[in-house]
Amino acid sequence: MEREGQIRIPSGCAIAAVISREGRRMSGEKIVRAMKPMHERSNGLGGGFAAYGIYPEYKELYALHLFFDSRATRKECEAFLKEYFEVAKSENIPTRKIPTITDEPIIWRYFVAPLPSVLANLQLDERELVARIVMRINAQMKGAYVFSSGKNMGTFKAVGYPEDVGVFYRLEEYRGYCWTAHGRYPTNTPGWWGGAHPFTLLDYSVVHNGEISSYDANRRFIEMFGYKCTLQTDTEVITYIMDYLLRVQGLTLEEAAHVVAAPFWSTIAAEPDPARKEELTYLRTVFPSLLVTGPFSIVLGFDGGLMALNDRLKLRSMVVAEKEDRVYVASEEAAIRTMEPEVEHVWAPAGGEPVIVQVKGGER
């Protein structure tokens, strides 16, 4: 079978998310159920979830989730990992055999800490080291793919409908303060396990509905900074853009939103607040190659929060709602009401208007 990068097929998709502002942990059961009313937005070629706060017992360690095509690849990759990390635990990710999910690769997770000697030698901070190792494995080690690499969080994805993927990974057994979900309807690439959403790097995860037309312009720019887009899917490039803007450049979430979904120049010209006008002008001028055009609605998950964002023209639907300490996001209101029938304050954010929710007390 041809994989991502070898073929392009000429997306509808479904996204959903829930976060507790209080950091209260919830099982994955509801977010899995939320994907059911949006079944028709996917075609069975990809589903996935990101969960934050699920590994409190290993919260100081990076949780690496990997797909392998063979035992030999796994052994090779493990030898490579041990050159850079102390591996505190390695195990199969528990799954359930179900008829709707087939052809699974070998799915493994490692809880690791970068070796201090390596960090000292390379003079890198540990997040940069982990990012580089992930890039190296994904770009160069055939048959191995890191699909999750943050602390106290994890991504779970597969080829299948999202509601089945959730059952497959036993997500009802995990408890997280924030969950994001995706149902895939690939239009440009074949469905492979690695190509399902969320796309992640470190604790950043992105689920995306849409198809960005600026993919190549964005990719050419971001690859100058060491990122390798291996899958030709637009979501991967959004993930790296967010990592670059937030972690490497140190922008705030709102600033990053104004880079990728920058307002039109005419809208900036009409902005009444001079400080805001200057900021918007500055961001568009400094990062013109990171403007993401074409339809998208995304949820960016990160340590301690999430950000939901639409393209500036709002070419994809996205609804937000609240109930007590929880905030919900989804492509359709029906998905939100599946999780919480009695939600309050249902609204549709404007295009380019980020909805940022952070857990009380910040990162955890």
Partner: protein, 243 residues
């Protein structure tokens, strides 16, 4: 006839409506799409959140939603009535050419996009709250009315219409219950305060909306309205070809 929506997908719901005896009430609707697509001569009430493309190609049926409706309500509808006691998603009334959509709350982006008229058909879209950006994009006919009756709307900061209303508009009319200061319209349309004749026209156009949602039409009409219409018959001359 009552239809319990839980566990039913849209095909099953539409099949029950087609073969059953109306009026119908759908209970616990949760995102099932294409409800009543293409239907004529029936009366359907939906409790819950109706899915995308509610009443697409509607051909005379009456639909009442007690709750919010999602995207593309009344897509390409030809005749009939859709009443939403809540808000609606994006692209409501996409390319509709007849019938009416009456919404108590807000509309998302691109409401009335490609709306048109045909011979004696004159579609009507009334939004009780506010509308998102690109309202009436490429409007070719029919009437869009936005009322911003804020007392029933959400508490979020709002404008009667978002950015870029009437982009590409070349037919029909839009009425906004506001003086529209600060709203930028494209060069090809004219926005002005309504005259007495248009106020009387509005009284007729809004009669059903006011009856359904219990508003006093005189009160609704007691503030300034703006009417927007394309300038002339050939607005986009030489934009694409020399014509």
């Amino acid at each position: 006839m009552q239809i319990i929506a839980e566990g039913l997908e849209h095909r099953a719901i539409n099949e029950i409506i087609r073969s059953g005896e109306g009026p119908f009430t759908i209970e616990g609707c949760l995102g099932q799409r294409f409800i009543a697509a293409g239907m004529s001569d029936c009366d359907i009430t939906i409790n819950g959140v109706s899915g995308n493309a509610l009443g697409a190609y509607l051909n005379g049926a009456t639909i009442t939603v007690r709750g919010n409706a999602q995207d593309a309500v009344g897509d390409t509808m030809n005749e009939g009535r859709i009443i939403v006691h809540g808000s609606i998603g994006d692209a409501a009334g996409y390319a509709m050419r007849g019938g009416s959509i009456l919404v108590e709350g807000d509309a998302g982006y691109r409401a009335g996009i490609h709306m048109k008229a045909y011979e004696d058909k004159a579609p009507l879209l009334v939004i009780g709250g506010c509308a998102g950006s690109f309202l009436g994009e490429y409007q070719a006919g029919g009437t869009i009315i936005v009322l911003d009756l804020a007392e029933r709307a959400s508490d979020r900061p709002r404008r009667i219409v978002g950015n870029f209303p009437c982009t590409g508009m070349h037919g029909g009319r839009m009425f906004l219950r506001a003086d529209c200061r600060g709203i930028v319209f494209p060069d090809q349309v004219t926005a002005r305060v309504i005259d007495d004749f248009e106020r009387e026209e509005l009284r007729v156009l809004l009669a059903e909306f006011c009856e359904v949602f219990a508003y006093d039409v005189d009160e609704v009409l007691s503030v300034p309205f703006t009417v927007v219409a394309p300038d002339s018959a050939n607005l986009y001359r030489q934009m694409y070809v020399t014509n």
